[in-house]
Symmetry: D2
Subunit: 334 residues, 4 copies
């Protein structure tokens, strides 16, 4: 690991643990520090990962640190990222860069041509199944793409206390699907329509949010895309993508926790799908960190950064407006 670039992890919460343990296991990165405002949390994770604790200021001032992994609370992402970029650090930022589209655009200059590489973690683009789907579409096997269906259902609703600061279903949850749609459609949609309901938990409605949505995107070419989002599936973490083209279709299904089938008089029971994002997307989190190592080695440009963040946020903003107005929203107006 002598030559691996030194990196620091900012934020030791749920996503910090994911990225931190992947960084510690990746021989192409040398995870040196864990930073967290809550000292015991930082210390526990540092001990687990075999590295030291430091303050954010110390890390940003340390010339040996080449990059930071930003997994702080969402509301602080943008400030931390701007400070790190200003300090010349390459940045891996857990999505979203910011929940507020206007604020994001206000920093367009620093973020779209940053002084150091910036990667924003739309990890689903690194999922092996979705990558294979993208490659299959590009390979022409189904002819010209005509429509897309993205399904993203959480296993169970978050605690109501999470809702008020989450940004709402579209900015917090659908944001990944908006990025997937832009990536797989390979064409920016021109208009969006959304309907949403609160069927899972009245506390979500009380907090001003929705939990069940169907979103339709329309491209200038006529391509159509449907996004299905639900906060509680009752059967696990459902992550599928279906692409329909002129000569056939290609579908990326759910992985299951094993290949077992149990045959009884009730039928053939296949094993459950994964219960949550950590297990389902473990490979994607490792792969995006490898991509970031490529970026640090100068071998790749960040796949997703400011432009992808704005692109997905525009769709999220439009979805919220469409639900509020009950009408389709032209994306050029957002």
């Amino acid at each position: 690991m002598g030559n691996a670039p030194k990196v620091a992890l900012l934020g030791a919460g749920r996503m910090g643990q994911v990225h931190g343990s992947n960084a510690a296991a990746n021989p192409r990165l040398d995870l040196a520090y864990v930073v967290d405002p809550h000292a015991p949390t930082a210390e526990a994770l540092a001990a687990e990962l075999g590295c030291a604790v430091a303050s954010q200021d110390a890390v940003l001032a340390d010339p040996e640190i080449k990059a930071v992994l930003v997994a702080t609370s969402t509301s602080t992402h943008l400030d931390v990222v701007l400070a790190a970029l200003a300090a010349g650090k390459a940045v891996f930022c857990e999505k979203p860069l910011d929940l507020d589209l206007a604020r994001l655009r206000a920093h367009a200059a620093e973020l779209s041509a940053p002084p150091a590489p910036l990667y924003v973690a739309f990890n689903k683009r690194f999922d092996p199944n979705f990558r294979a789907l993208k490659a299959r579409i590009a390979g022409g096997e189904i002819g010209a793409l005509e429509s897309l269906h993205l399904i993203s259902h959480d296993p169970a609703a978050p605690p109501p206390a999470f809702i008020p600061t989450s940004g709402g279903l579209f900015r917090d949850f659908s944001i990944h699907d908006f990025d997937m749609a832009r990536w797989l459609l390979d064409e920016d949609p021109v208009e969006l329509f959304a309907w949403a309901s609160c069927l899972v938990d009245p506390a979500i409605a009380a907090a001003g949010d929705v939990d069940t949505a169907r979103i339709v995107l329309r491209c200038a070419s006529g391509k159509l895309c449907v996004i299905s989002n639900t906060r509680r599936s009752g059967y696990g973490y459902d992550q599928r993508a279906e692409a329909y083209g002129a000569k056939g279709a290609v579908l990326s299904g759910n992985e299951r926790i094993s290949t077992l089938e149990t045959w009884t008089e009730a039928g053939a029971l296949a094993a459950p799908i994964y219960p949550g994002f950590q297990a389902r997307f473990a490979a994607s989190y490792r792969a995006e960190l490898d991509h970031f190592a490529d970026v640090l080695e100068g071998e790749a440009e960040p796949l997703t950064a400011y432009a992808a963040s704005v692109g997905a946020s525009v769709l999220a903003e439009a979805a919220a407006r469409s639900v509020a107005s009950g009408a389709p929203v032209r994306l050029g107006d957002v």
Copy 2:
């Protein structure tokens, strides 16, 4: 067959052949006559089915004929049905009763309380898979129904010459899905939004129609339903229904022409799905005729008649209006 009611088939075309051969094979019906304005067509089918040829007037005047199966050209359905009902014949009418919602409503009185039983053939309600889906939802296994996805993709586009008299994608093709949505949602939707494109064949656009559509329905309870329609799938006749509820989901998939799987280095190839509606829905056509026999024996009320026809037609009308206006349509206004 001595006691089976005598019936006549009106129309010896594609659907007449389907219903005619099922009637001939059904011991509960005594198919006596085939009627078709084109004499050789009537004679050929009558010979095949082992019955006689007659004129429509003769059939309607024959007191021994208890019922007629109407499979004439769509534009004549309503007149033929009204004449048959006026003659006291029970009527099995291939859908639609009429393409024109206003005309249908103009005959509300005769059709909603007809002098003899009237069944309108929404055959998909009789498909064993969809019936099992309906029963599973009703059985409560997935908790309260929250959303529905209906997929209906034709294998290949019809000849462009068919388009001008077809009524258009929504009245001709989606009409089955509109009926399925009403049946499975078990609640009348209150609003509809649709986008549609012409991606399959420019001749369809030239004829003023679309070939690819995504339709969203909203219920007062918040239930959402997406309908996917495409005139050409490239992989067969795709007929699926997916119901998502509070505790899980139940999905009705496609039947395949055999259970074969071929394993090679390319992967595991399952047999194709059915290439068209005749094979895919053969069981449903037999079952709906059995239902009609039940109706003739006084053991059942027609499952779908005037109200279902109007209900589905309202959705078709709304979809056409939504595409034309680019805005959602309140169904109470249609």
Copy 3:
């Protein structure tokens, strides 16, 4: 039906009902009589099928009767068949022709070159899935066939009273798989080894039979075939065939009662397979009767008759000897 050949059904039991109702529904056959020594049984079935009751003697003496369908009790098959052939009737005989290989061979002359066509009902050859498998192998997609696995598991054990007259597992149950093996291997095996246990019901052992067997066949070319037989699967009527070749494999799986999948936290539950042979093999019973109609019309030679009966019986006899001796059996010695 004026030109359809007149046939009589001999035997109104379980298989008689299957073949009788298929014959009544087949326009290429004119089912005229039902014969059964138990008059009420004959009368009930005749009423259901819309034909008359007659005695066997009367049927065989009636010059208008062109063929008989033999579904009498197994022990009488051979005598009835010989009498019918002697009377010049074409014969459709439910398998087996006889349980006793020596007795079968004693009548080789009359049976191998019969005075009228003789078809012995190895219906599984007419199952659409198995036919597709056979065609796929013949089509060369998996290269030269190297091994075969046939799985035939009954849902639940027969009543113990059935065992003593059944002929035992191999002659009664495995006989179908022995015929399938000969048909699919397209090469006569040269040696057989079998092990069998009584695991399902001690009453079966008490009656001198086994209920669970694994049989291996070896061909001169080196091709190997495994047959799995069980009297009680616990999950339905399991009927699969797997063919492995030089370039891949082709597998014929089980049909399910519907295409439903139910997704819950327990996993994805596919619908049960068929519970019994009547539903699973319904298409094959109709198809073999159609084949018999072809035979009657002179358009086909019987696919399976004396030679196939002897071929399968030799394997059954060998399996019984192998289990008794604990050693492989050379088929040339049987």
Copy 4:
């Protein structure tokens, strides 16, 4: 990693690379040295894994080394293991301990009660799917186990030069399935019968070996087990296990390289299964090394060691004898 026990890898070939890289990535083991008689090979792997090169003598004499991972050529396994155990090192030995059953038994004393822990790497017991299968059987969901089918097909035959030193199909390849059979049956079989052919490559026959085998095991309780082995499947690395019980069945299927399905007129093509053991069993190799770390920490007894090695070797020996004699072999006589 300060407290992790120091280990050395003996052998830097194909399996040495698998276990070496897993050891390097496992925080519970401190991989200190790579040993290989071919210096450049040792150096290249040591560089890749970030450790040093040493000689076997130095490693065995080093008191800081607590354990060795033996992945030398098969013929040297036993000598190396005996030397390492004599030096007080815990041993993780790639299977087999030795190809020669008599030689193994000659060292029963040292190996069955070794001076330091000995683990023999039957990795398939650590595959998550097979573990889940074992747990499902133990959980009683399918009732008492009655029969087992193990399928292990290699994607493509090894080079003929490999055959003469391999020990033959049964000792080299089937050995894993023999261990699986003993583990899943939970009862030692009493008799074995095998037939084998050379269908894949005549050079294999010329080298005195076979490439296609079907093996049947019989237990005293009547349980039956079939093992299917083929050196070349044509469709990937096929690893399945099927358990049939009194109330149903549980089957462990193949993992696929992705969840993609491509739907065209040819049917629905699922992604290929894994092409080889490295990818298919990657999780099992990591898990068995974790198990070995548990052993080193005194938290577990080795799951498989001398007894399992002898148990599987007895079945391999019996299979070879059965093929040679054409008769079943009583395992008590081997």
